[in-house]
């Protein structure tokens, strides 16, 4: 993570919305405003979520990892949204089932096959129940960044991602 992949500006607390589309639009608009993704990312990520849901029930709180094709992305980043109220997302790989998501990790991927280490670390976060619960209770972007950096440390110290 050379250039902050997880800038505090990408971390949104108390994200509100009636539907997953509202949440995705709010988070994607923030990334557009910051120049991380192109305007086209907003519709693309919503459309992708409808076709291929990314909700993941976990032992802690449910998460979603929305993302879309690389052509909508200017530079790679992870945006974290802590939702004010759980919002139902479709479960990855299921036709109809949904799960009440409390944490959204929106991924802006810029190259194929270039983010293995980062994704593997992110999955470690997702498999860590106490970490997810801690993240969902954080009240400041700075403390979320600190928590995430402790887990993603390898990348922050290891120079650019392979």
């Amino acid at each position: 993570m050379t250039m902050d992949m997880m800038d505090e500006a990408f971390i949104l607390i108390g994200v509100e919305g009636e539907s997953k589309e509202d949440i995705l639009a709010r988070m994607a608009e923030n990334l557009v405003k910051l120049g991380v993704v192109k305007e086209s990312y907003i519709a693309a990520v919503i459309e992708r979520e409808q076709a291929y849901p990314t909700g993941l029930p976990t032992g802690g709180c449910s998460v979603a990892i929305p993302h879309t094709d690389i052509e909508h992305v200017n530079r790679k980043a992870i945006s974290i949204g802590v939702l004010k109220q759980p919002v139902r997302f479709g479960i990855m790989g299921e036709e109809e089932e949904t799960t009440p998501v409390e944490l959204v990790f929106m991924l802006a991927m810029d190259q194929k096959h270039s983010q293995l280490k980062l994704l593997t670390r992110l999955m470690q976060v997702i498999q860590d129940q106490s970490m997810l619960i801690a993240l969902s209770h954080e009240t400041s972007p700075a403390s979320i960044k600190e928590l995430m950096n402790a887990v993603l440390q390898f990348e922050t110290q290891g120079g650019p991602l392979a």
């Binding site: 291929y52 790989g93 991927m109 194929k112 983010q115 999955m123 498999q127």
Partner: protein, 94 residues
């Protein structure tokens, strides 16, 4: 035992399939199984179906394929992972 080809698919072919692909690579290495892994988008599966023995996918495969399909969400969440690994290994040693 002939070398098997596994298609590893997700919606965009860049995120969750990358994680699953790596997990499968390690699983096969651990069990000394020589395997051909092809990472792709779910929409590309049909065109790659020739010669494939198994589809491991994090997303819905709503078409019929001439090979088994195994849901790989467990590789992301860790829930039920051992069972999924055993199902995959069982297909590979057939």
């Amino acid at each position: 035992m002939t070398k098997k080809t596994i298609l590893v698919a997700c919606g965009a072919g860049i995120a969750t399939s990358t994680v699953v692909n790596e997990a499968l690579k390690n699983l096969c290495k651990e069990h000394k199984i020589d395997v051909n892994l092809i990472q792709c988008k779910i929409t590309e599966v049909s065109s790659l179906a020739d010669g494939a023995d198994l589809l491991v996918s994090t997303t819905i495969a709503n078409k019929e394929y001439p090979f088994p399909v195994i849901n790989a969400r467990a590789f992301l969440t860790g829930i039920g992972i051992e069972e999924v690994k055993q199902r995959i290994l069982a297909e590979l040693v057939k």
